[in-house]
Every structure is written in C-alpha cells, then in structure tokens.
C-alpha cells in the first residue's frame, strides 16, 4: 500500500501574529516554524495504517522553499519512508497547490492521500477537497476515525450536530480533524535514520502547470480590537451588570 501525506510549514500556533505596517504580510523574524498541526496528524495516521497493515510506503510531500526540508525531515524522523519537496518560491493559491499535488499523485500513484483539513495560517480548508475533485476520487474530510479493510475505507467525520460515517473504495483523499489521533514525537533513533532517508527535490516549473494565482491577497489588516473589560467582585455584581448594563439577561 502507498500513502502520500502532505506537509505544510506554518508558524507555531502559539506565535503572536504581528502584521507588517504596509499590510503585505506578517513579521517573520521571531516566528518558530513547525509542521501544520493537522498535517502532523495526517503523518501519524499514515504511520498507524502502515503499522496495522504490517508495511506500506509512506511518502511525504511539501510545496515550498528550501527551508521546508526541516519539516520534511521531522516527518521522516517520525517514521515516514521518503519525502518529496516541490521547490516553489512564489506564493501559490489552493487551486495551484491542488494541481501540483495531482501531478505528484499521478506520478506516485498512492492508494491514499491524507492531508490536514486546513493550514492554521491560511485557514482556507480547500486543498484536500480540490485535489479529490481533480483526481475524481472520493473525499472524506474532517476525519476522526479511519478504517481500512483491503480497498474498502470507512471514515467517521466530525460534522455539525454529530458524527457522520461514509464509505468508499480506495484510492481516496482524507483530510484530518483534531481527534483522529495524537501524533508521536520523533525519537532520537528516528531523527538519526531520517538523515539517510530520501528527500527528492523537484522544481515546480518542471511540472508544466499554470501556477498563476487566481486568488490574490491584496492586504492584511488587524481585526478591530475589543474594548477592555473589567473584573467584577461577586456573582451578585455580575448578574446585576448583565441585567442593567449589558442588558443581555
């Protein structure tokens, strides 16, 4: 079985976001870069499927700059077998990313593509679904449980109002939600082994895909700040202000 997991390099979720004065982006001088938490869950799920099946080829892919090697090595250290870095220095929108992934999928022919449901910097939540449509494959988004028996896959999804179960044959695209699993830490032996694992670089321009962005970010701005509130000293005071001041009860 072949599994492809995608990895995006994002600012650590605890980072205080500072928007540049000209609105062209965020300040990155003090940013700690990590694997998108949902992609970490995707890598972990791929590894668990591999362990359950008694073997599988788990490949990771990223589309980004040279520095993204760091995150791919972390994924390899967790236990993935090999990695592909599609080198792209320009910003790409979700459509372009999905197209690049579709090309890699056509070459690699995985049975399963598993990716985070959204990147915690962009928050678009589009790539997995777009990729599934481009490939003509089933999609199972916001997965909280994945079961594979042969080529039959059953996924429990976190939806509004509860949990939905869907089924389909592989190949398919799954996007991960928070409670699918808890990712393992890379072990020291894992980190050592990762250095020798294959990390292939492919220049994005060699793929012959039109990458012209159709969605462009014109400017970033800070959201309006809330007015500072105050502390109350007792339940009586709280109920009183909610009633007479805020007029919500």
């Amino acid at each position: 079985m072949k599994i492809l997991a995608s990895v995006k390099r994002v600012p650590d979720p605890a980072t205080t976001i500072r928007i540049l004065p000209d609105g062209s982006g965020i300040a990155t001088d003090n940013v700690k870069w990590v694997i998108n938490p949902f992609d970490e869950i995707a890598i972990e799920e791929a590894l668990r499927i591999k362990e359950k099946q008694g073997g599988a080829d788990v490949a990771l892919m990223s589309i980004g700059q040279q520095t993204w090697q760091e995150q791919l090595r972390t994924g390899l250290a967790m236990g993935a077998d090999r990695a592909i870095l599609v080198r792209a220095d320009q910003p790409l929108d979700s459509l372009a990313i999905a197209r690049v992934m579709a090309k890699i999928v056509a070459d690699e022919k995985p049975d399963l593509v598993i990716i985070g449901k959204q990147a915690i910097d962009d928050d678009s939540n589009q790539v997995g679904q777009m990729l599934a449509e481009m490939l003509g494959w089933p999609q199972a988004t916001f997965a909280s449980k994945v079961d594979i028996a042969g080529t039959k896959c059953t996924v429990v999804r976190e939806v509004d109002g509860g949990l939905e179960t869907i089924a389909f044959d592989l190949p398919a695209v799954i996007t991960t939600d928070l409670r699918l699993n808890e990712p393992r830490y890379a072990s020291l032996p894992g980190i050592m082994k990762a250095r020798k694992k294959e990390l292939k670089e492919i220049p994005v321009d060699s793929l012959g895909i039109d990458l012209t962005p159709k969605l462009k970010i014109k400017t970033l701005a800070a959201p309006p700040k809330r007015q500072a509130g105050r502390k109350v000293g007792s339940v009586e005071e709280l109920v009183s202000v909610l009633h007479s001041e805020a007029k919500v009860i």
């Binding site: 089933p138 939806v159 928070l178 109350v232 009633h243």
Partner: protein, 325 residues
C-alpha cells in the same frame, strides 16, 4: 453584472439561520457586483414545501433540484449537481455558508469549475473585494479573485439573516445533471448528538465550559444547570472535547464552530488564541476562571476571578431570583 448562485442547505426541509445568512450575503454580493440576480438552489427530496418557504427570502429565483438520489448529502454527488446548475445559469459566483457541509462541498465545486475560492468571508466591499480571516482571526485579508467564475463561503456570524418578505420568488423544479461513473461515495450513518437545547450557531446566549470543569460529569452537574437557567446553547473548549468531557460538535474555536451570540459565558476556559478565534466577536463576553492571569480575561467585558465550582451554582440561584423579580 454578476449573478450569484447560493447553495441553500436544509435540514429535512427546515432552513437554519446559517442558510438564511448565505441568502442575505448572496443578495448583497449580487447587488454590489452590478445588480445581478441571486438564485438559490436546494437539493434533495420532497422539496415543494421547503422551496416555497425559501422563496420568501428576497432572491430572484429558487431552483429545486429534486431526486431520490440526493436524499443524503455526499460531496461528489452534490458537487456534480451544483456545478452543472452553476454552469447552466451562467453564474459568476457560487456561494454557501461555511458550515461543515459548505466547507466539504464548496472547494470541490470550485475545483470542478476550475475556479478560485475565498473561504469564510466576513465582509463584501462595495467594489466586490472580499475580506476573510487568517491566522486564527488575527489578521483580516482583503482578497481578489480572477476568472469567469468564483466560489465563496461565508462565515455565518458575519452577516445578518435574510428576512422574509411579502412576495415570493418563482420556483423552478429541475432534475440534477449527474454522471453515475463519477459517484464513488456511500452514506453509511449519521450519529446525531441529541439535545433539546438551542443550536450553538443559532443561540442568543452560549455558555461554554473548559478543562476547568475537570470531568464530563461536572459538565452535567455544574455547567448544565447554568446553561439551562439561561436558556443557552452549550459550547466547549478544545481541551474539554479532547479530554472526552463532551462531544466534538460542541467545540468553539478556530477549527471548531465560530459563534457570535449576544452573550458568551466562558467557564473554566483559559482563553487560548484558537478558542478566542471562535468567540471573540460575541457582543458581551463573561469569563469565570480562578486564574486571574488567564488570557480569556483580555477579551472579557466582565471577568470574575473565582472558583467556578462555588460561583456557578451561586449564579444559577441569582438568575432564578432575577427571573422571579
């Protein structure tokens, strides 16, 4: 002049507030893009009643895609149907609310149309530019999209609901255009979290619990009396859901539900950036936490530094008195 196709999600023929928000946003977008038409589409079975109901909300036309095959939502199935309709209508925008269904469906529609998509927009500029949150809502991005057709999902808390009027739009019944060879998914079951309480995304008051409640049992015995005394919906922080205290669909946050009620009461919630992303647009925010340094107090209008196990029952009693006074 741009026409907008709005996907109107329904729950067994009933339209939640989140759908009426999409209709309103669709009408606004059509107006701001040169005064085009806003067409709403509903899909499923037995649509006569629901279509007639939807038609009162100010759009130009309702299209009812009726077929037993559409009884259960599936991404590839609905993407085919909605995309075919968008093309035949010559719509420039396809729009839906960013509910779980909207998030699952719309990017697939976008890819099928070779169109860009702006997710969870919070406002529409007079020139048709769109604003959407990034970095857990810590940045608002103004975005522009190119091409003959564009897809948009709207954040439910950012727009008002459409209001019903006196006139009804015409309803057109249509059969969905489907390619059976492309349908590869099967609906198995839906495990609904049953509750008599208002829905999180519709309630005027939301009371949320965090890790500070310490157990699912405490949610029931300590928090729920407050939730019910206030006639509120109940929410939770990610920590509480991860710990198994409450089901996943109660999670409020960047990657859970985004709510903006009149009153949000955060009980035993520290206020991580990701939680704030899901509730910081609430009109009035109250925080109850025994840690006075908890970040939640930075967004709270009223903060009570106290042991929740002591003050929440007190609050229930105090509210009962207010009700009877």
């Amino acid at each position: 002049m741009a026409d907008v196709l709005v996907f109107a999600e329904h729950q067994a023929g009933h339209f939640p507030k989140t759908t009426l928000v999409a209709v309103n946003a669709g009408i606004e977008l059509a107006k701001k893009r040169g005064g085009g038409k806003c067409v709403a589409v509903i899909a499923g079975e037995n649509l006569d009643g629901p279509a007639a109901e939807l038609a009162k909300y100010g759009m130009s036309k309702v299209v009812a895609l009726e077929d037993p095959k559409l009884a259960h939502y599936l991404a590839d199935l609905y993407a085919q149907a909605i995309t075919a309709l968008a093309k035949s209508l010559g719509a420039e925008y396809v729009l839906a609310t960013a509910t779980a269904m909207g998030k699952d469906l719309m990017p697939r529609v976008a890819a099928r149309l070779n169109a860009p998509m702006a997710s969870e927009i919070v406002s529409i500029g007079d020139d048709g530019t769109l604003v959407r949150p990034m970095y857990a809502g810590n940045a608002l991005a103004t975005v522009e999209m190119d091409g003959p057709i564009k897809v948009v999902s709207v954040r439910a808390t950012a727009f008002d609901s459409a209001k019903p009027g006196d006139s009804a739009a015409p309803v057109e019944k249509a059969k969905p255009e489907l390619d059976p060879a492309g349908l590869k998914m099967q609906f198995v079951s839906f495990n609904e979290t049953k509750s008599d309480r208002p829905q999180l995304t519709e309630a005027r008051i939301v009371v949320s619990g965090g890790r500070g409640l310490k157990s699912g049992e405490n949610f029931k015995t300590v928090l729920e009396p407050l939730v019910d005394e206030m006639g509120a919906a109940m929410g939770a922080s990610r920590a509480a859901v991860d710990a198994g205290f409450v089901p996943n669909d109660l999670q409020v946050g960047q990657t859970g539900k985004v709510v903006a009620p009149e009153l949000y009461v955060a009980v035993g919630i520290s206020g991580a950036i990701q939680h704030l992303a899901g509730m910081k647009d609430s009109k009035t925010i109250v925080a109850i936490n025994k840690d006075e340094e908890a970040p939640i107090f930075n967004v709270a209008d009223y903060g009570l530094v106290a042991d929740l196990f002591k003050v929440v029952p007190e609050m229930v009693e105090a509210l009962k008195k207010v009700k009877h006074s």
